[in-house]
Structure formats: C-alpha cells, structure tokens
C-alpha cells in the first residue's frame, strides 16, 4: 500500500461479532483506503457475510465500531450511505417489475435520473430483456440486473457479497475490469467470492482472512 495522507475511507476498529453464542471474529481491525480492492476470504460459516453487513452498517457488531473517514458510521449514517453501494446475497430486485423498471427505480431513488436505463442494461448484456419481468429472468440475468447499478454509481465504497455468483466467465472479467477502474479512480471494493479472479493480480488484491472458530 502506498502511504497516504488522507484518512482511510473505511476502517474497522476492534470488531467483535457473536452469532448464536459463537464468536465469529474477535478484535478485528483493519483500514481500507481509496484504491484498495479487498477480498474477505474464509470457509463457509467463518463470518464473511456478517463482516460485510457490519461494514455496511446493516448489522451492529457485538463490540467495536466501523469508521467512515474517521467518524463512526452510526454518527454519520446519511453521508456514509451516500458513499456506499452494498449488494448482498439478496439482489434487491423486484420480481414483479421488469428489468428496466427495477433499474429505473434504483436510478431515480438514488438520484441518477439523468441516466438511460436501457443503455446501462445494454452494458450488462441484457439488451432484449428490458421488458421481461425480473422473476422470469435466469439467475445470472437476475444478478446482472442488480449489478447494473455498478456502472452508473459514483459511490466510493463498494461492498459486494459474492458478486460473481451465477455470472459467466466473460461477465466476471468485465466486472473485474470495472473494479480496477473504480479503484484507480480512488474508490475501494470490498468483496467476498469463492471464484478465482483472473484479471485482478495478486499484488493488487488485498486479502483479509477469517477462520472458522470453534469457541
């Protein structure tokens, strides 16, 4: 990592997470700066998703806190949410709406009404499916509808839980390029995945490892 004078975009300070009486992680601290691509690794059940949800402010840690530019996120939720794009396991795509309506809603509610949803859908290879109900799309297309948000956002912090699920090889490569471009622009990407990434080189990728603990 290059030394930076700016405060870290996002930092975890002594996080502890306890689920169902089991300690997932304890006293976990790290800093994430603009330009970082961070992969959270670990076996199933190690608490990867829990960590991402805590970083996004969806879950409250048992102990410790998450800081956004050195302010606790619970104190500056609005600014933090404005800088954050989180995509969880659940895509947040409404199956009763078409792909275009879904994206259009996302664009408008987050203030990007100037973008053309059709153009963005074309970029994620969904041309021709704009008017299909999201419930009728394949798993991969469904996922792409959710990921389409990445192409227009100006959020600095991306937190993505398994973004490559159900995405084909070409799509994964495109996403990886998008992540690099985003990081080069001063943003950061925090993701979990069980797939190997081909384009993002190992020296570019930072890894945070969580282990399954038995206590």
């Amino acid at each position: 990592m290059t030394a930076q004078s700016n405060p870290p975009l996002l930092s975890a300070s002594h996080l502890t997470c306890i689920r169902e009486e089991r300690v997932l992680f304890d006293d976990l601290s790290f800093e994430i700066n603009g330009g970082d691509i961070v992969q959270i690794e670990g076996p199933n059940g190690a608490g990867k998703t829990s960590l991402l949800r805590i970083l996004a402010g969806l879950s409250r840690p048992y102990g410790g806190e998450v800081l956004f530019q050195e302010d606790p996120i619970v104190r500056c939720r609005d600014e933090f949410n404005e800088a954050l794009l989180y995509l969880g396991h659940l895509a947040g795509v409404k199956s009763e709406l078409t792909a275009e309506e879904n994206l259009n809603f996302n664009l408008r509610i987050s203030g990007y009404a100037q973008f053309d949803p059709r153009e963005i859908l074309a970029r994620v290879n969904l041309t021709g499916f704009e008017d299909a109900l999201a419930g009728h799309l394949s798993a991969g297309q469904h996922r792409r509808t959710a990921l389409a948000r990445l192409w227009h956002t100006d959020c600095k912090i991306w937190i993505l839980d398994e973004p490559f699920t159900a995405i084909d090889k070409k799509g994964v490569a495109e996403l990886e390029e998008l992540f690099i471009a985003h990081a080069n622009n001063g943003g950061c990407v925090i993701l979990t995945t069980h797939q190997d990434m081909g384009i993002i080189s190992d020296d570019r990728l930072r890894k945070i490892r969580l282990d399954y603990r038995f206590i």
């Binding site: 969806l58 609005d78 404005e82 954050l84 969880g88 990007y112």
Partner: protein
C-alpha cells in the same frame, strides 16, 4: 455529494413502485377486502338476524372486522422486501428511512384502507345501521384506518424477520388498536342517537397526527433490528 434528489421525489418514486407492484399482484388488494366482508357476514349468522340487535352491534362489528382485516393485510407490508433484499437497500439509502417507511405505509393504506372505507357503507346496510350514523362511520374509518396502518407497521417491522410472525403480530398490535376502536365506535353510537361526536373525531385525528409523527421512527428502528 448530494445527487440532488428531493425528499418528495424519493417519497413518490417509492410510492409509485409499490403501487405498481400491488397492481400486478391484485390478490393482495382483494383478499383483505373479502376477509372484511366475510367476517361481517358471519355475525348475523351467529347472533341472529333481528334488526334491532344488529343495528346495536353494527359499529363494533364493522370496526373489529376492519381491525382484523387491516392487521392481516399488514403482514405482507415488509415481507416481500425483506425476502428479496429491497429492504436492506432501503435501509442503506441516503434518504431518511422514516420518509421511505411512511411512503410504504401510505401505499399500503391506499391499497387496503381505502377499499375498506368504500365497502363499509354497504356492510352497514346489511347490518341495519342507523342511517344517521353513516357519515360518522365513514369519517371514523377515514381518520382511523391510517392509524391502524401506522401502528400495525411497527408490529410488522418487529416481526418481519421471524418465521412465525403471524400470531405474534396480533398479540403485539391489537392492544395498541384499542383506543381507535373505542373512540370510533363511540362516535358512531353518538351519531346514531343524534348527539354531537366531534370530540371523538378530534381524538382520533389527534391519534392520527401523533402516530404520523412518532410511528415512522419506531418502524425505522424496528426494521434495523429485524434486518440485523
């Protein structure tokens, strides 16, 4: 970095989406309404068809049926959003959560509360309700059903993450419905005997204002717990 979306825009964007989804899922609108009608129809079968008795208990029957119908329909308020992840996105939106929650409750009330108010006079006829009481019936429903939606949404927000929330929901919110029930039926009874009922209406209106102001905070806090 404000991307320039006003609160009003956000409010109506969400409202519009919810209404669109509901229109494509018509069952959600008609089922509570049918439930309301059927419950009211059962009462004459249970307590006899004598007009005198029916007109005496009509306000209570209609209002209790409205409470139950409102509660049953509320169960789905946040469920679909919870299941498909939209709720998480809503919590992470830069817009104030209270505003978005209010928009969802309004959509729900437009879809289930308003039809209830429209069919209520019809049911009042079936129950031989005194004709003087009709305006009071409509007015109390108009002011009271939004209170039911707002208070009920708190209970729904608390139980949305639970697998078996249904029965629990009734235990949580029916006690909170008691004041609305008492003043609404009181107003209708007063109207039937040609006494002024402005007082009761004013109290229900006060309950509406109070819950409009406070309930969104409770709903928002509850949703944060439920999605944790």
């Amino acid at each position: 970095m404000n991307r320039g979306i006003s609160y009003t825009q956000a409010f109506f964007t969400l409202l519009q989406r919810d209404l669109k989804i509901a229109v494509r899922h018509r069952g959600d609108i008609f089922n509570p309404l049918l439930f309301f009608i059927i419950v009211v129809t059962l009462f004459p079968l249970g307590i006899g068809s004598e007009a005198k008795i029916l007109s005496r208990v009509a306000p209570g029957i209609i209002w209790v049926a409205a409470l139950l119908a409102s509660m049953l329909s509320l169960e789905r308020l946040f469920k679909a959003d919870f299941v498909d992840g939209s709720l998480e996105q809503m919590l992470l939106s830069p817009q104030p959560l209270q505003l978005l929650v209010l928009s969802k409750v309004l959509a729900h009330w437009l879809l289930t509360g308003v039809p209830l108010i429209i069919v209520a006079p019809l049911l009042a006829v079936l129950l031989h309700m005194d004709s003087n009481a009709y305006p009071a019936l409509i007015e109390t429903l108009l002011l009271g059903t939004p209170v039911l939606s707002l208070l009920g949404a708190i209970g729904v927000a608390l139980t949305v993450g639970l697998r078996k929330g249904g029965v629990l929901l009734s235990l949580l919110i029916l006690p909170l419905y008691i004041p609305v029930l008492i003043f609404a039926t009181g107003a209708i009874e007063f109207a039937a005997t040609k006494q002024p009922y402005d007082g009761q209406l004013a109290i229900i209106a006060a309950l509406l204002v109070g819950s409009l102001v406070l309930a969104p905070f409770a709903i928002g806090a509850s949703l944060r717990v439920s999605t944790n």
